[in-house]
């Protein structure tokens, strides 16, 4: 009996969730028979199920609602606002009663009659108004034999029902623990398989075993996918409740809001759906309370009376993005800034230089809340900072953008699942650790000098794309002794936090990446604040997953002040500030100059050797494009690397060589024209010093030309995983385009394994014009022109030689 009751409660709950949205949709379009049928079915099922149990009040309520809805279905009355509200009230009461039944409590007496009466009142008003057109049933009994009504109505409803059942998914209910057990069982199987694979490799090729083993592998990965999907749930389950929420809120606040849901079929981890439920609700509350204006105000500003709230979910790779946008009044930058200054989040000076975007995103800072009067809708003591915290806890992020008077757009990024993430394994001091891939922006390898690695006090800084980025030594963070060689030539993992802050993590090596099944850690280990979980590598070794956000927070890298202090030297073009902005630099003649920031695409660093001065105008190849270069001194360059501003007018690009890039600045002072210098647009004061502003028009008129793609030498690789994953990056970094055999022309060089080469030669197959032969053993046989496949220097030298030879033959031809 208990089981039966639990099923009844669960089933009723499920239908309650589904019908909330249906009711609102039905209210919007009373003629929608399909919606009406769904709601009718709900109350009918509740009433029917009550028969098994002794719930007279539940039965009475559902019966009354069923009667009223049956009248609508039979066309005896029109569903109106009052009826919908009355039916909603009844459904709410049913939900409360179900809660009480589950908790085993007695539900407070009374109140049912007034709800039933509300159904009836609206009924009488309607039937009274439509009396002339109604032949019979103008006085239907309150407790009419519903069965007779049903029997009559079922036939009429039949065609509508059929379409409904087609879309319904068949589901069964399972405890989550069972799913978890199956999932860990499959994980065990994968590990056993990996162990077996390892042993098979040691034993050598055994065709009789290899075949079935391959099949096992395929099946296992299929099963693993399916199990993973079992944890997934359509985001519909979350969306289902939103129309009702929006309806109730807008009614309460006297606003009219239409909700538009999109992407309900996107699937998300069950636990993740629970995690984002509150943040989503909070943002919707905010949007209706503060965003969307009252109908009169909307009409006054020339908008539609009904506000639009659009919620869309999209999956892209391993993340789900949910966008909540409204067409309300938008965020008030000035008020946010004033509030932020008042609460000490930023200083007035910082306000002056901060972009609109930066100011708007201050609403996620702890201790920020703009609403002066705390309404009972949004002001619940939980700010957007908590929303952001909760999202960051699961590796997500939130951003806001807004146009004054046009609306606000919140965009949430959340990882697909909590338990399986893409990760990168790094090594330091002989220990291995995993980093969630979602944080990794880029991996940079190079000498300390190339990265301009410096120590400012205790803090290490590196230069990445023209920005000084704080750098954490993973070895120091973890207190693990790291070896000397690695310190002089570190591998940097550039990590982008959800808040947008970028920092570098220096490690000794990168191992591999792949999907990691993350398991929780014991509380005593979690207290270190460095780890987010543990995972097992393919060889069964446990590794710890680093809690990147927390490590950064412990190093004080997340505070906004630091980002502002460092500023960004480039790509600040997204600013909406009215002040024109310029990039300040010192050119090779020692003059301080500036160029309008909109023109600056990027700051490049090129080795001096890469500059080709043979033609009348110097050129540099960057990213495979030949670009004209100006601003170089006559004398040969003293330094080995030169900083270049990459300028673009949209079509043409050119590079401007500079001695030093200083900063992005606002042009606040008056611009004085300089007619005597054609290349100068004006002279202005920046920080009290005169600065020449470059005339972009003249610059592009003189030097601009569309970039020409430099013909990169092409290279064919041997087939196989090794070539694709290990050899290809090396070849590409040596300046080659990787081509497939079909695309290769005569000029392409080929890399082949020596055994293949010998076979091809023996069979007289055609080979590319130039070939680099690789061998498997470090030691070369006598008189053999092969290169050991891990001989990096040898390979690079051979590739460089082949590339030079290619250019010569190309020129000769």
């Amino acid at each position: 009996m208990d089981d039966l009751l639990a099923d009844f409660i669960a089933e009723t709950r499920e239908m309650l969730e589904a019908s909330g949205g249906e009711l609102v949709a039905w209210e919007a379009d009373p003629a929608d028979r399909a919606r009406l049928d769904t709601i009718f079915r709900f109350v009918h099922t509740v009433k029917g199920n009550c028969g098994f149990f002794d719930f007279p009040r539940l039965a009475g309520l559902s019966h009354a609602a069923e009667d009223a809805l049956a009248d609508c279905r039979a066309g005896r009355r029109d569903p109106d606002q009052q009826l919908v509200s009355a039916v909603l009230a009844v459904i709410d009461r049913i939900a409360l009663m179900i809660d009480a039944i589950e908790a085993g409590e007695a539900f407070p007496e009374g109140g049912d009659d007034s709800l039933i009466a509300a159904l009836d009142v609206s009924h009488e008003t309607v039937s009274g108004a439509g009396l002339a057109g109604v032949k019979e049933g103008s006085n239907p009994p309150l407790h009419a034999p519903a069965e007779t009504l049903l029997a009559a109505n079922d036939e009429a409803a039949a065609p509508y029902r059929r379409t409904e059942t087609a879309t319904a998914q068949r589901t069964i209910r399972l405890p989550v623990e069972l799913l978890d057990r199956v999932m860990s069982g499959v994980s065990d199987m994968v590990l056993a398989r990996n162990d077996l694979a390892h042993r098979l490799r040691q034993a050598g090729n055994q065709p009789t075993i290899d075949g079935p083993f391959e099949r096992l592998t395929t099946i296992l990965s299929d099963v693993r996918d399916a199990i993973t999907r079992m944890r997934m749930q359509r985001i519909e389950t979350l969306f289902g409740a939103l129309p009702r929420l929006v309806r109730d809120l807008s009614a309460e606040l006297g606003k009219q809001v239409m909700v538009d849901l999109d992407g309900g079929d996107v699937e998300l981890d069950r636990e993740m759906i629970e995690t984002i439920r509150d943040p989503l609700t909070h943002i919707i509350r905010n949007a209706i309370d503060h965003g969307i204006e009252a109908p009169s105000a909307r009409l006054a500003s020339g908008k539609r009376e009904i506000g639009l709230l659009a919620i869309a979910a999209r999956q892209s790779g391993n993340t789900i993005s949910i966008v909540i946008s409204d067409d309300g009044r938008g965020l008030d930058e000035e008020r946010i800034a004033a509030k932020a200054i008042a609460t000490g989040l930023i200083t007035a000076a910082e306000r002056a230089v901060a972009s609109r975007d930066k100011i708007l995103n201050l609403i996620f800072e702890p201790g920020f809340s703009t609403a002066e009067t705390v309404s009972n809708v949004s002001g619940r003591g939980v700010g957007l900072d908590v929303v952001r915290q909760n999202l960051e806890k699961v590796g997500g992020s939130i951003k806001v953008s807004s146009q004054p008077g046009e609306g606000t757009l919140f965009s949430l990024q959340i990882p697909l699942t909590l338990s399986i993430i893409a990760g990168l394994t790094v090594e330091v001091g002989g220990h291995r650790f995993a980093i969630p891939q979602s944080y990794v922006e880029e991996i940079v390898q190079g000498t300390a000098r190339a990265l301009e690695f410096t120590r400012m006090g205790e803090t290490a800084l590196v230069t990445f794309r023209g920005n000084r980025v704080p750098c954490l030594m993973l070895g120091e963070v973890l207190g693990v002794a790291s070896c000397e060689i690695a310190a002089s030539e570190p591998t940097l993992v550039m990590l982008r936090l959800a808040s947008g802050d970028l920092f570098a993590l220096a490690v000794e090596g990168i191992h591999n990446h792949g999907d990691l099944v993350v398991k929780p850690l014991a509380p005593a280990v979690m207290r270190t604040g460095l780890y987010a979980g543990s995972t097992l590598l393919d060889d069964g070794q446990p590794v710890l997953l680093l809690d990147v956000a927390n490590i950064a927070a412990q190093a004080n890298l997340v505070s906004d002040t630091r980002v502002r202090a460092l500023g960004t030297l480039d790509e600040e073009t997204a600013t909406t500030s009215d002040m024109p902005r310029a990039m300040l630099f010192t050119d090779f003649a020692g003059r301080r100059s500036a160029v309008r920031l909109e023109l600056v695409q990027r700051i490049e660093t090129a080795p001096a050797a890469a500059i080709d001065r043979s033609a009348a105008r110097p050129r540099v190849v960057i990213d495979g494009l030949i670009l004209p270069l100006i601003g170089l001194p006559e004398a040969p360059l003293a330094q080995s690397r030169v900083r270049l501003l990459r300028l673009s007018d949209g079509a043409c690009e050119l590079l401007y060589a500079v001695r030093e890039v200083e900063d992005a600045v606002e042009l606040t002072e008056a611009l004085h024209p300089v007619p005597e210098d054609p290349l100068a647009e004006a002279v202005t004061l920046i920080g009290g010093q005169p600065v020449t502003l470059i005339d972009a028009h003249e610059l592009f008129a003189r030097h601009g030309e569309p970039p020409i793609a430099a013909a990169r030498p092409r290279c064919m690789l041997p087939p196989g995983e090794w070539a694709r994953t290990i050899l290809a990056p090396l070849v590409a970094s040596a300046g080659y385009d990787i081509v497939s055999e079909d695309d290769a022309d005569n000029a392409a060089i080929g890399i082949v394994f020596d055994d293949i080469f010998e076979v091809a030669e023996a069979l007289g197959r055609t080979l590319p014009g130039r070939v680099i032969r690789l061998r498997d053993q470090p030691d070369a046989p006598e008189g053999c022109e092969t290169i050991y496949r891990y001989d990096r220097e040898g390979l690079l030298a051979a590739l460089a030689a082949a590339s030079r030879a290619g250019i010569r033959t190309g020129e000769a031809a």
Partner: protein, 155 residues
């Protein structure tokens, strides 16, 4: 308590008893991956099939690490796997002796067991294989810091 099955293990040379119901299994301990910056009594994590176990050095978890030289007693190559609060732990002990039956309730002895032991012990228990100190798993896994904090808070 009488009649309950107990696992008898030796920690820092003392006979200790764990309720057999708490003990999931006894494993050969494989490679232990150390956890930098974790408390000293956490030796690291190790893998049991697809599960990661937190390896606890019981002597240090008692707070005896400083008093006793680490190699005064050898550690068993086997570890006791227990579950507590939804997490699984592998307890590193001197040796795992026996499984036996309790022959009475856990009781106190005059003078107590000493500060470290009193924190983790529910009392002395008579078993069919002789007396042993009954351990409170949750207290043991809370680590020695808790005791120190309590003392500090008391002052």
């Amino acid at each position: 308590m009488t009649g309950d099955l107990l696992v008898i293990a030796r920690i820092a040379g003392r006979r200790c008893a764990l309720a057999a119901l708490d003990v999931k299994s006894v494993i050969e301990i494989g490679t232990v991956t150390p956890i930098p910056r974790a408390p000293a009594w956490i030796a690291g994590i190790t893998a049991l099939r697809s599960q990661a176990l937190t390896v606890i050095d019981c002597r240090r978890a008692l707070g005896l690490g400083g008093v006793l030289a680490a190699d005064e007693w050898a550690t068993d190559h086997r570890a006791v796997v227990v579950a507590e609060g939804g997490h699984s732990y592998a307890l590193m002990v001197d040796s795992i002796e026996d499984i036996t039956t309790a022959a009475g309730e856990a009781g106190q002895v005059p003078g107590g067991f000493g500060a470290e032991w009193s924190r983790v012990a529910t009392g002395m228990i008579e078993t069919l294989a002789g007396p042993a100190l009954m351990l409170d798993l949750a207290a043991l896994l809370a680590g020695p810091e808790v005791a120190r904090h309590e003392i500090e808070a008391g002052i």
